[in-house]
């Protein structure tokens, strides 16, 4: 039976930011705590 030897030649990858960067952003978001008090804003990074 004839076999198909063709392989996926689509080597063009679309630009996408890596999972590491995305993970970093999600962790950053979780650790960031912004408190507002008497018109002042405080940024806390709970790391």
């Amino acid at each position: 039976m004839a076999q198909i030897y063709s392989e996926n030649t689509d080597k063009c990858k679309l630009v996408k930011t890596s999972d590491e960067t995305v993970k970093f952003l999600l962790s950053y978001s979780r650790s960031l705590n912004i408190v507002k008090h008497e018109g002042m804003t405080f940024e806390n990074n709970l790391n």
Binding site: V15, T17, L26, L32, I34, K36
Partner: protein, 193 residues
């Protein structure tokens, strides 16, 4: 079929504390935003950096609660990225960086000609061994060789200092080298790095 949740809903959820909404937002716009940045900076690493800085600004603005859903979420994020791209180019114009290309590498023209640590160690060892071998030469030859090699004196200066003619000094130097080679050969020493 994947269910597409509207950006405004996700933003509202995120602002009310749902971290999962941010993940969906990033995942949803990752490719579009990355491609936009990449099309301007043409460098994957810089793209990642700008993407990260963009979302840090987005996160801060949303957490502060100072985002108002006047326009759409994506154009707002794109605007932030656009401003950061401009900042990036301003910075690089102030500090031009030359990286070369595939067929020309700047490091082939300018280079550090100092020896690396290993080669320096080998060279020091050879110099040290050679110093010991020189001690085995007859005094007159040793004197000329030390003056020429270690003190960098000319043969004229050597002849004046040792009260011999230039030809004698040259001859002593020649014999010093011949004898040195003989000693090295006799002792079966390898003095190469």
């Amino acid at each position: 079929m994947e269910l597409q949740i509207d950006d405004s809903v996700l933003v509202r959820d995120y602002m009310s504390g749902d971290e999962r909404a941010l993940e969906i937002l990033i995942g949803k716009h990752n490719q579009r935003l990355s491609s936009f940045i990449y099309s301007k900076v043409l460098d994957r690493t810089i793209t990642e950096d700008i993407f990260q800085d963009t979302f840090i600004k987005v996160i801060k603005t949303l957490k502060r609660g100072s985002y108002s859903e006047e326009g759409k979420f994506l154009p707002w994020v794109m605007r932030i990225a656009h401003n950061l791209i401009i900042d990036h180019f301003r910075k690089t114009r102030r500090m031009p960086k030359f990286e070369g290309s595939d067929d020309f590498n700047i490091f082939s023209v300018i280079g550090d000609d100092r020896l690396n640590a290993e080669k320096q160690l080998i060279k020091d060892q050879i110099d040290c061994d050679l110093g010991v071998l020189i001690q085995e030469l007859p005094d007159d030859q040793k004197e000329v060789l030390v003056m020429r090699i270690y003190k960098d004196m000319s043969f004229k200066e050597i002849s004046e200092n040792t009260d011999v003619s230039i030809n004698t000094a040259l001859g002593r130097m020649r014999y010093a080298l011949i004898n040195l080679r003989k000693i090295i050969e006799k002792k079966n020493i390898v003095l190469t790095s």
